[in-house]
C-alpha cells in the first residue's frame, strides 16, 4: 500500500501529521481516525504536512475539511504544508485554498501557529 502516516508531537507545539503517498478512499479513513484521536486527546491546533503526498482525492479533502471544522468549533485551527503544485492545484480548483492556510514548509506553518496562539 502506497501510504504512510506519521504523527510528531513536541511539547507546547501543535502535533504534525506527516502523510506520504496516496491519500484516497482507501487510505483517508486512517487519517480520519488519527485526527479524531488527536482531537479527543484535546488538540486544538494541528499541522498536516502533505509534502510527500503524490495523490489526494475528494475523500481526503472531506477528512481535512471535517478536521478543520471541528478545530474551529473549539477556536482552534489546522494548517497545511503543501509545496507540491500538483497537490495544491486540487485545493485551488475546488476553492479550498481560500478555506485552508497553506504553507510551503513546516517552519512557515509553525510560525503561523505561533502567531495565532500568541
Amino acid at each position: 500500500m502506497n501510504f504512510k502516516m506519521e504523527t510528531r508531537a513536541v511539547e507546547s507545539m501543535p502535533p504534525i501529521i506527516e502523510l506520504e503517498g496516496e491519500v484516497d478512499v482507501y487510505t483517508a479513513p486512517q487519517l480520519k481516525q488519527q485526527m479524531i484521536g488527536l482531537l479527543e486527546g484535546g488538540a486544538t491546533e494541528l499541522v498536516v504536512d502533505l509534502t510527500k503526498v503524490e495523490y489526494l482525492d475528494s475523500t481526503a479533502l472531506g477528512v481535512l475539511i471535517g478536521g478543520l471544522k471541528r478545530l474551529r468549533e473549539r477556536d482552534g485551527n489546522m494548517v497545511l504544508v503543501c509545496p507540491s503544485p500538483r497537490i495544491r492545484r486540487v485545493f485551488e480548483i475546488t476553492g479550498l485554498d481560500k478555506i485552508f492556510d497553506i504553507f510551503n514548509t513546516q517552519p512557515e506553518a509553525m510560525e503561523m501557529m505561533g502567531k495565532e496562539t500568541g
Binding site: S58, T59, L61, R86, V90, T94
Partner: protein, 140 residues
C-alpha cells in the same frame, strides 16, 4: 504513436472496493499517457477517473453491493479520450445519503470531475450507474 492508437480500446474489470480504486487510476494513467495530453491533462484524467470510481465504491458500500465489479473502458481517439465507467453498485438514491458526512466529499468529487474533464454524463442503468467522461486533446 498516438495516430496508431486511434480507436484502441482498453477495458479493465475490478472489484468495487476502496483498495482497487488505485488500480483503476494506474490503468487510466497508462492509457491517457498515450494521448496528446499535457502532463496536467493526464493528471486531470487520473483524478477524474479516481473520483468516479470512488463514488461507485461509496454507493456500493451504502447499498451493500461491495461484492460487485466496476468496468472501466477507455477509448482512444485522434482528438479525445472517452472513458466509460459501469458499476453495479445499486441505485444512487438521494434520500439514502442526505445528511451523511460522506456527502460533502461526494459533492467535491462531482465538482472535481466537472472541472477536470470536458464532458460528463451520469446515467442510471440496470443495477447501477454508467458514467461517461470525455477529455479532448488540445491542438498544440
Amino acid at each position: 504513436m498516438a495516430q496508431s492508437d486511434s480507436g484502441a480500446c482498453v477495458e479493465l474489470k475490478f472489484p468495487c472496493r476502496p483498495e482497487y480504486v488505485g488500480v483503476a487510476r494506474l490503468a487510466i494513467l497508462g492509457v491517457a499517457s498515450r494521448m496528446r495530453f499535457s502532463y496536467d491533462e493526464v493528471e486531470d484524467v487520473r483524478l477524474a477517473v479516481g473520483e468516479a470510481c470512488t463514488t461507485s465504491v461509496e454507493w456500493a458500500e451504502r447499498n451493500g453491493k461491495s461484492e460487485s465489479d466496476i468496468v472501466l473502458r477507455s477509448e482512444i481517439g485522434d482528438e479525445k479520450l472517452i472513458v466509460d465507467i459501469f458499476d453495479e453498485a445499486g441505485a444512487r438514491s438521494e434520500d439514502s445519503r442526505s445528511g451523511e458526512p460522506e456527502q460533502e466529499s461526494e459533492n467535491l468529487g462531482a465538482l472535481l470531475i466537472t472541472l477536470l474533464v470536458d464532458e460528463v454524463s451520469v446515467v442510471p442503468r440496470d443495477g447501477g450507474t454508467h458514467v461517461r467522461m470525455v477529455k479532448y486533446a488540445r491542438q498544440r
